[in-house]
Symmetry: C2
Subunit: 403 residues, 2 copies
C-alpha cells in the first residue's frame, strides 16, 4: 500500500487554537447568555483601514475590465509592492535590502512552515520554548521528533532571553518581539546570535511579524539592522498584525542574495535562488488585489491609519498590563508587543487549569502558556486584539476575581 | 555548515515558462514594433465576471466595517463556499462528496505541489509524460530524481492514454482533461485506473483543473464519478480556468473521508485528517473576499457568466483546431480542453526549433511540447486563452506561413 509521511504520527492530535475553540464552544453551548470576552488567539478585531479598502475597490474594478485585468502575476510579488516594502521597511531605516530580495506571500505561517522545504533533513534545529507552535509542528512533519530538535528555554530566570547554545546548531528559529511572551531581544543580544550563526555557519530564521508594535528605540525592527546578518539570516514579516490583514492574507519573506550554503560538493548555493525555485514551483502569487491593498499600507494615509490601529491595540496592552500588575500578578510583555505573558498566580492551577477557571469564573478567554511549549507551563497569554470596552471589562472582571 | 535540501540540485535550472518569457522579451527588445501574439502560457485574458466583481466589492465593504470585518477564517475554507462547491460540482451530478471533504485553497499549483507533504518518501510515483511540470518538479524536490519516479508515455501511438503499469506503483498523477495535450480520458478508461489503484492499494492524484471545458457527455468531470474512487483518490480543482481566477487565486482539493492508508504499525490512517493537519499548520486560508468571489461563481448569474467565458475560449480552440487541420497538420485536443496539441510538421524542427521559427516567422508564441517531458518532443501546445481577434490573426499567419 502507498505510504503516508509517518512523521505526522508524532504530532500532537490537535492544534492549540482548535482545542481552545472547542472549549469555548462547549462553554457557550451550556451557557448561551454568557458574554465571553476573547483574548486568546492573536486575531485583530478592527476593520481594514480606509486607504486599504479604497485600494481594494480600485483593483477589483481593474479586474472587471478587459484593459486592466491581470491574470498570473510574478510568483515573488509585483514590483510595485516589493519596492515599497524595501524602501519603507528597510532602506528608510538604513538597512541594505533590495526589492528583489523580498518574496511576497500569503502569510508568515505559510512561509515559516514552508521554509523547511529548501533545507536538508540532517540539520539540527533550535526552537525557543515557549514558541509559536508552527515552527515545531512543521519541523516534526519534516524530520520527526527526536534528537535533532533542541529546545531553548525562555523563562523568567533568563529574562526570556534563551541562552546561546554551547554546541553548534544548524538552524535557529527566533521570533522577536516574541510570540507568546511579548518580550523583546535588544540589539546587543541579537548581535550575539548573529555572531554565533556566523561562527558556526548556522542559519537564523527570524520571525519579525510583530515588528510594528515596537515602541522602544533600542529594539531592532529587523535582524538586518545587525551587521553581517545578511549572510546568516532569513526574515519573515506579516501584514496581519500591523495592518489587520489576518483575513486578507499578505506577508513577505526577506532572503538576502548574500545568503549562501554549501551543497554536498562544497559549492556555494544561494538560498535566494532555492526559495525562488520553491515559490515559483509550489506557489502562484498573492492575489493582485491583496497586493494592491498591501501597497496602500505604505501610502501616507495608509501609514497614518495603520499606525492608529497598532496604537489602539497597544492602549489595550497597557490596560491589561497595568490592571494585572495592580492585582499583584507577575506580568511580562505588552510594551513592544500586543501580548501580555502572565505567571499564573498561586492557587489558580497550571496553564490549562487557569484557562478553565478564567473561562468559567470570569468568562474571559486567553491562551494557556503550556500550549506553546513545556516552559510555558504555569504561564498564560493575553492578547490585546480586542475593543477598548471589552478589554477594560475583562480586566475589571479579573480584578474582582476571588480565586 | 547548515545543509540545503540537496534534491533541489537535481532540478532543471529554469522553469519552462520563465525560459519562454525570456525568449519573448529578447525578441521584443530586438523588434520593438513586432505584434507578438501569445498562445503560450495557460493564462486567461477575459476580465472577471460581473457577479464575481460585485461579490468582491460587497465583501471588501464588509472588511472595512467593524460589525462585518472578518479576521482569521477556517483554514479549510468557509462553509458558505464549501457547501456551494459540494452541492453544485458534485451532489448535483449524483456524486457523493460532502462539504467537509472540500479544502479551499489558493491554487491547484500549491495543492498538487504540497500534497507530497503527507506522503511517505519511499512511495513509487508515476507521472504521465508529457505532463504539467509541477508534479515532476515537486517530486524531485521531495524525493529526488531516481528510480522511484516512473514516466508513463502519453503519445499518438497510445492515443494519449498511458498504459496501465504492469507492476505496482504507489502514487499516480493523472490530469484530465489533460494539460498539455488537451486530450481526455473517458469513463471506461478512468474506471480501469480506479480498479488498478484499488487492486494495488495505490493513490491517484487526479487533477481536474480543466473540467469546465468538457463538452462531450462520456467524459468524467470528476474521478468520483467512478464507483470506489473515494477510497483511492484525491481530486484537485481550480477556479483559475473556469472563472478566470488566475490573478485572484482560488482552488479546492477533495479528500474523501473514506480514503485511508496504513501507517507503519498497520493502523488505518485518514488522509483527510492528515491533509487537514497540514493545511491547519502550514496554511491560513484563502482570503475571505476571494472566497466570496468564488461563491458568486455558483450564483445563477455567476454560472451563466462563467460558462460564457469558457465558451468564448472554446470558440478559439475551434478556430485553432480547424485552422491547423486545414493546413494539413496533425492536431489533438481542443474539444474538451482549451489546449491544442500539434505535431510539429516535417521541416520545422523539434519543439524548441518550432518555437523559435514560429516566434521569428509568424510572431506567434506557443509552448514547446518537450518542455512538458521527453515524450512531448516534436509536439507543440497552443492555448486558446486569447481574444477571438488575436486567435484568428495567429491562425491566419500560420496558414500563410511557408516553412
Amino acid at each position: 500500500m502507498f505510504q503516508i509521511n509517518e512523521n505526522y504520527q508524532q504530532l500532537n492530535e490537535s492544534y492549540l487554537f482548535s482545542t481552545i475553540s472547542k472549549k469555548i464552544s462547549a462553554y457557550a453551548a451550556a451557557h448561551p447568555d454568557a458574554k465571553i470576552i476573547r483574548m486568546g488567539i492573536g486575531d485583530v478585531t478592527l476593520p481594514l483601514s480606509p486607504a486599504v479598502i479604497e485600494a481594494l475597490h480600485k483593483s477589483v474594478d481593474e479586474m472587471g475590465a478587459k484593459a486592466t485585468f491581470r491574470g498570473y502575476g510574478p510568483e515573488q510579488g509585483y514590483d510595485f509592492l516589493r519596492e515599497k516594502i524595501a524602501g519603507t521597511d528597510f532602506q528608510r531605516r538604513g538597512i541594505n535590502i533590495a526589492a528583489d530580495e523580498i518574496f511576497v506571500s500569503d502569510g508568515a505561517k505559510s512561509d515559516t512552515g514552508n521554509i523547511g522545504d529548501i533545507l536538508g533533513e540532517d540539520n539540527s534545529v533550535a526552537i525557543t520554548d515557549p514558541v509559536y507552535p508552527v515552527y515545531l509542528d512543521t519541523n516534526i512533519m519534516r524530520i520527526g521528533q527526536g534528537d535533532k530538535i533542541h529546545f531553548l528555554a525562555s523563562n523568567a530566570a533568563n529574562n526570556f532571553l534563551p541562552e546561546i547554545p554551547s554546541r553548534k546548531i544548524d538552524v535557529v528559529y527566533l521570533c522577536y518581539p516574541n510570540n507568546p511572551t511579548g518580550t523583546v531581544m535588544k540589539k546587543a543580544e541579537l548581535k550575539k546570535w548573529v555572531e554565533y550563526a556566523r561562527e558556526h555557519e548556522s542559519l537564523i530564521l527570524f520571525d519579525a511579524a510583530y515588528e510594528a508594535f515596537i515602541t522602544e528605540s533600542d529594539v531592532p525592527h529587523s535582524i538586518f539592522e545587525i551587521e553581517g546578518a545578511e549572510i546568516c539570516a532569513i526574515e519573515f514579516r506579516s501584514f496581519s498584525k500591523n495592518a489587520g490583514f489576518t483575513g486578507l492574507r499578505c506577508s513577505y519573506t526577506v532572503v538576502p542574495k548574500a545568503l549562501k550554503a554549501k551543497n554536498g560538493k562544497g559549492e556555494k548555493i544561494s538560498l535566494h535562488a532555492l526559495w525562488k525555485r520553491r515559490q515559483s514551483t509550489k506557489y502562484n502569487e498573492t492575489p493582485y488585489i491583496v497586493q494592491r491593498g498591501a501597497e496602500a499600507v505604505y501610502s501616507p494615509e495608509g501609514q497614518k491609519e495603520t499606525k492608529a490601529l497598532v496604537a489602539y491595540y497597544m492602549e489595550n496592552a497597557k490596560t491589561i498590563r497595568n490592571g494585572l500588575e495592580q492585582k499583584g500578578w507577575t506580568v511580562y510583555g505588552g510594551i513592544n508587543a500586543p501580548y501580555i505573558w502572565v505567571q499564573c498566580p498561586a492557587g489558580t492551577g497550571d496553564s490549562w487549569g487557569f484557562f478553565d477557571r478564567l473561562l468559567n469564573e470570569c468568562l474571559v478567554v486567553g491562551t494557556p502558556g503550556v500550549g506553546f511549549g513545556k516552559n510555558g507551563e504555569g504561564y498564560f497569554r493575553f492578547s490585546s486584539f480586542n475593543s477598548h470596552e471589552n478589554t477594560r471589562e475583562a480586566v475589571e472582571r479579573i480584578k474582582n476575581w476571588k480565586y
